[in-house]
Structure formats: C-alpha cells, structure tokens
Symmetry: C3
C-alpha cells in the first residue's frame, strides 16, 4: 500500500505517470466518471482549508466515489484527546482512502503508519502539501511543455512559504532549472533549502530583492502572499509591501509567455487587473487541482486506468 | 447563463413556469430523480442557516446530483481574506451550480459576476432570499388556486423582515392584491416599500396595529417573528409581544380557509396549538421548499423537463 | 413506524434479528450495497461526535443511500431557538431517517414524537446511546459465541459511563450473566443501576476496586475512560489513575480468550502495547459499528433483507 506524504515519495517516473494521467482525465473526464464507484474518501481536516477540502471532495465525486469527513471547526471544539493514530484506525473502518490536513507537522505520516488504507497529506503545518506541488508541476508542464531548462522566479514570502520549498524540492530533480528567489531580507529562502536542496543538485540560483529587475529573465513566475505579521515593524511592512505586488504595469516587463502561478488564496499580492492577462495561470491551477487529485486517488487506490488498461504506480 | 439573485430576476411568465415545474415534481418525484445525474451543487454558506442549506442539498440529491460545500462555522473562523469573486471562480472548477448564503448584501451578485456557473442567492443579509419567496408563492397558489385578487396580511416585524419585503415585491405584480401590514409602530413596513413598490403599482394597502381586528378580512396570513432585540425597551416588548402571537383562540376569528404562512424558524409567535389546525401551512411551505429548489436548479442548469420535453426558462 | 431511542426498545428477539442481520452484512456487504438506493439519512448532531457521525454516514452510504446533516459547531453557534420538535418536522421533508445526537436527555425522544420519519438516538447526554450497546452485544456474541453465561467486568468510570449502564441494562436480559464493577469509590455504579436493573433480574454482581485481582475471573472486560475532572482532588486522581489503566503486564493475568472492549475514544486507560494483543477488541467494535448501524437503518426503514427475503422487525 502506498501513501502520499511528501512529493518526493514519488519517483520522477511515477510523478510523470501521475501528471500524464491527470492530463488524460482533463481531456476525457467521462471515461473516469465511474472508476471509483463504491469507494469512499474521508477528508479529515483538523484545521479549515475550504479550497483544498472541496477540491479533494470534488475529485472523488468526479470519479464516482463518495465522501465523508470533517472540516475543522468541529474537531477543534470537540477534542476529546484521541490520538491521530487511533483516529486513522477508526476511519479505516469507514472509508477507502484518507486526505488529512493537520496543523502539526508529521501528523499525516503518523496516520499512514496506523491506518489500513492509503493516506494523502493535504497539508501538515508549514511542512508539506504534496498535491499542491503536483498541481504546480502539471501547470508548468502544460504551459511550458517541459519541466527542465526553466528559469523560475519565486516571489514574496520565501521563508515560510511551504509551497515554495516543496516545488523547489521537486524542480531540482529536473535538468538545468534556474531559480530566482525574490524577497525582502526578512523573508529569504531558508538556509536549509539552499544547503540541502539546491547545492546537492548543483542548481543555479540567485537571491535578489527586485521583482521588476528580475521579471524579464523569467520563464515562470511563482507568486506567494506576503503576510503583514511576518514583518518586524509596520513601517517595514508598508515600505516593502508594494515591491512584491504584481500588477499589469510590472507584468509588461515580463516575457509574453511567462505564466504567473499562485497557490491561492491571494489577498492583494496580485492585482485583479492581471486576472484577464493570458499569462495569469492561477485559476488554471485550481482546475488542474481537481485532475491531479483524481489521478492521485486513482493511483493510491490502485485503480486501473480505463484508457491504458494499466495501473498508475 | 442565468442566475437567481433577486425574485424579480424572473418575469411573471418565468415565475409561473418555475412554479408549474415545482408542482409537477411534487406530483411525480420519480420522473425527476436522475435528471441531474453527474451534476454538483456547491452550498457556500458564509453564515449558518441549517434549514436552507439542508433544503438545497436535499433538492440536488433528489434530482440525482451531488453536493459539496461549507456551513458557516468553518469559514468564519478561517477567513484568509479571499474575496467572494475569487472564491466563486475557484468553486466554478469544482461544481456546476452555487447556492450562496452571505451576511453581506450583494455578495451573491458579486459572485455571479465572476463565476462561470449559475449562482443562486440563498439569502444575503437583510436583502433578498428569492427561493423563499418562490416557496411562499407556490404555497399560496396551491392553497388559494391563484396569485391575484388576494387580501393578504403580514404580521410582526415588517421593518426588518426580508421575506415580507420580497413577497410584497412579487405580489404587487399580480392584479388586485390587497395588503394589510399588522405591526407595532416600531416595526412598521419601511417607507421605501410603500413608495417604491406599493404606490407605483397602485396597490391597496393598510397599516394597522391589531391582529385580531384584521384577521376576519384576510384570505392569507403571513406571520413573522418579533425579535426582542428590535424593541426600545423591555417594557415595550412585554407589552406588545402577545398582541402579535397567533394562537388557536385568535385563529377562530379568521376565515375557515385562510392559510397561515411563516418562513420558519418560529419561536413563540405561533402557538403550537395552531399546528394541528388545517389552516397551518408553514410545514407545507417546508415541503414545497424542496420542490421549488429542485425546479430552480433544473431551470438554471438548463435541464430539459422529462415530462414536457422542454427547458424551463 | 418504529424508532430506536433506547436499546430496550427492541425485544430480545428483535435484538437477535438485528445482530443476525449485522453478521450477514459483514459476511456479504455487496448484497446490501444498493438496498437503500434513493433513501437519505439526516445526521443531526447538536454536539460534535465525529466518530459516531462518520459511522452513521458510512453505514448509509454503504447501503446505497445518501447523507445530509450538520455536525455541531454550526448549530451551537447559530441557535435561532427552533425547538427540536419543529426541526424534526422540517427535516422529515428532506430525509427518510434521522440520526440525532443531542446534549440534552430526551431530545431524540421528543424528535420521534413529531417527526414523520424514523429517529435513531445517536446519544443524548449521559442517557442513552443504543447503537453503541448493539455494537457491544454484537462484538461479545461474535467473540464468545453467546450473550448468556458470561462473567463480564466493567472498569473505570461506572458512575457517569453511559455505555456501561446501557450494556448492563441489556445483558441482564440474558441468562446467568455475572457482573464485576471495578472502580474507585468516587465512580461506583449508580444505586439505580443496582436497584432497578440488577436486583429485579436477580443478577449476580460484585463491586470491587482492584482490576488486577478481578482480571483472572473475567470472560469479557469492558474498559472506560477515567476523566480527571471526575475526581475531588488532583492527588486522588494521580493516586488512582494507574490502577485503572490496562497494560500488557496486567493483561497477562487475564484468560487467553478474554476480549477487551472499549467504546472509544480512549486516552490512556488502555496502553498502546495492548493494541497488538489478539484480545484487544476495540477496533473490531468500530468495524462492527458500521454493520450494526446498517442493520438498524434497514430495520427502521423496513427494507427487505435481500438474503432472507424478509423484513427485520
């Protein structure tokens, strides 16, 4: 039995198979609308994350399956002290696969050690959110045609942004990717990402502070939110905030085929005047989210792909 | 693509078509139990309204469709600042139709401007709740046989009662309806309802304070809740409260075929000794609620009516 | 129309029929996967109880049915004062059967008096939780082969433990059962259980304080949680706590075929080193929970058992 706790749980080949399946589902949704008939996902969300939960539920329903679960508020108010290990065993009696969101790092891993059904990490603290990374990869591949030889810029809060770390971890595995980290000093990418991820792969990377100067060089831009509470002072926040906001004016500096990704929700780090630009890819990511999660569910449930006659993993 | 934000979004003819379809569904539920197979409603309830949410969900399931959504508590606790515009775009990737409840007036309208799927307003602040009005119309038509030439009394909180304003807006469009507004001074029907709705249609209306004196004249009685917090003083509340409570004794003053409507939940403005009277129509309204919402979902999803072979709108 | 408010609502023969059906479902789940097609359960949980709710929902889905409902947080925050009587009438329009959890004793009974569909009590305050008792009975019968001639020990909080009282109420109805009540003085079984239940049936019972001394005599051990807040003082709690914890060492004193039951969630009253012992039956109870609830739903909905061609009750 396989779980998905960390994006790196899948080899490059397995990742390719998942993304290929997600593409096939996107092209032929009807062929997959009953492959999970009679199967059930439990969405165990120990903290609210409405978008992610609805995406998983919609993915399972689109495969013909069913949904049970909880959505955060209930669990936080009614904690009777049951361990994640016990809960995962209990839920194994009610469902065929678990998608777990938890504020504590490692909780989904613990669940996977005790459950008798596959567990998908749907975000654990600042740690991992592997299906989001698969969505980012699918979107980049779809819009650029490949996952290597890409100059990608990450902009905003690179210190705490879990989706950034996770996508970097994945992209270093492909040849010749070049990384620009665009952030204020306070929010630079952590030392361990540089030492443990970029350097071992000899990846080319640059830490810069200007979005405008960097934009023209990029094949892909990955925006993240800059949260006010991350700054030392209100003054500092106000001084820097606008620097890391993408608007139509700044976007004019970028290549005409440079997709703009963002894991959502956005607040004001991307102006709404960018939404209609054909480079805006963040709502495409949302759509891909459903297909990627359908593919992951099929893979972990070992469902045969009706179009290829083969299992995914 | 059509939305339902305000009851007046539907013409008189469209309203008639919706009510006719709701009647057909009520008579032949089995004929409609698979017309929405593979379709999905997202119930986005930014404030809790259990009855309304369950009614929409039960309507979609009764058409063969599926449900995803959230129920208030979760969203209020976990607001990450996403706009309604962005949420409606995101959810458009997961569902085929949205039912949105929101404490702010206008939120469902904004959602409808950005979503790529139909939006139903399931109540926005004190503003609109169009499916409730359709339910009221269906119930009156069912019990009186017509929607014109009716003397209807509205009793209770006519100042803040959104269902009252909305039903008046609709009923003035039919010929020869006569309106009695029965309330304490503090809770009289707003000036704009009189100036903008009743007068332009030359509708006959009376503002009165005695339920008992008015009851014998009415063809239909529409009760609403008088909330304690609406009053200036506790004394005033206690003095007036009983005046606007309907009990079996007062009901003896009414015509034998005068239906009593109430949008529910009721607290004590209708005594439970009225429940068994055959004029009590408020639980019939609940039942009609499911059929009206099934009809609205079919209409907005442009599903062909299997009994007529035609689309509704 | 039948409801399930109290375990004793079912005669011994009816209880046997329910347990027999649960066994058949466990053996042949596929034969029952569509018997409730088009039927809908409403899970009305006025306080959160995630495990119980998921169990009921999973039971209904496994019969082919659908689910609507609420999960506690929403209702507690948004109480508009509707009575349980009104809510049960409203929900009768949306569903075919209700499972209700409520903090107040008697609420499900009131609901059953006003609803037009069957009501299952899913726990009302410290009062009743009849499906849990049926699960306990099914598990004991499955592991011991019979429900009479059993020496059963109840350990922990016997004063407030609703599952204990309810299981005792049921087990006295079978011949020759012998009861050991193992608890600190503060948490002894209530006088009314002894006077109203054990004595009228002439059941043999013992009130003891040592788990270790009692263990060797038992055919079945039923553990419950000892909550810190039940004690008069912190000292008293710390002094007694370990006495009522079951670990592998103590378990060595028990018969090799003595199942250990626990209604879950457990906190630390059963050490995890017991989990791998083949006498640990608490996760089997969880599995049986789904089958018992499937059987109860079928019984109350008067669904014909496809394997016997008969109705259950």
């Amino acid at each position: 039995m396989r779980h998905l706790i960390d994006t790196l749980d899948f080899t490059l080949e397995e990742t390719k198979n998942i993304l290929d399946l997600a593409d096939r589902i996107k092209q032929n949704p009807d062929s997959y609308s009953h492959v999970a008939d009679g199967k059930r996902i439990a969405t165990l969300f120990y903290e609210p994350s409405t978008r992610t939960r609805l995406s998983f539920e919609s993915a399972m329903l689109s495969l013909g399956g069913q949904v049970i679960g909880f959505a955060g508020a209930e669990m936080s108010s009614a904690s009777k002290g049951e361990t994640v290990a016990d809960t995962s065993r209990v839920v194994s009696c009610y469902a065929d696969i678990i998608a777990m969101r938890h504020p504590k790092e490692g909780a989904p891993l613990v669940a996977s050690m005790y459950s008798s059904i596959p567990v998908i990490n749907a975000g654990d603290g600042g740690h991992n959110h592997p299906t989001q990374t698969l969505i980012d990869l699918m979107t980049i591949r779809q819009l650029k045609g490949h996952l290597d030889n890409i100059t990608i810029g990450f902009c905003g809060d690179l210190k705490f942004g879990r989706t950034v770390h996770s996508l970097v971890n994945s992209l270093v595995r492909y040849e010749n990717n070049r990384f620009y980290f665009i952030s204020p000093d306070e929010l630079k990418v952590p030392a361990y990402t540089i030492e443990d991820t970029l350097k071992p792969y000899n990846s080319e990377y640059y830490e810069v502070s200007s979005l405008e100067e960097t934009l023209p060089k990029l094949d892909v831009l990955y925006m993240t939110r800059v949260q006010k509470e991350r700054f030392f002072s209100e003054d500092e926040y106000l001084r820097l905030k606008d620097t890391y906001i993408l608007n139509r004016e700044k976007l004019n500096l970028a290549k005409p085929d440079m997709p703009v990704l963002h894991p959502l929700p956005r607040v004001d780090e991307i102006s709404t005047d960018v939404d209609d630009d054909n480079r805006a890819a963040y709502f495409k990511q949302v759509q891909n989210g459903k297909y990627v999660r359908m593919a992951v569910i099929m893979a972990l449930l070992e469902i045969t792909d009706p179009l290829t006659g083969q299992k995914v993993l």
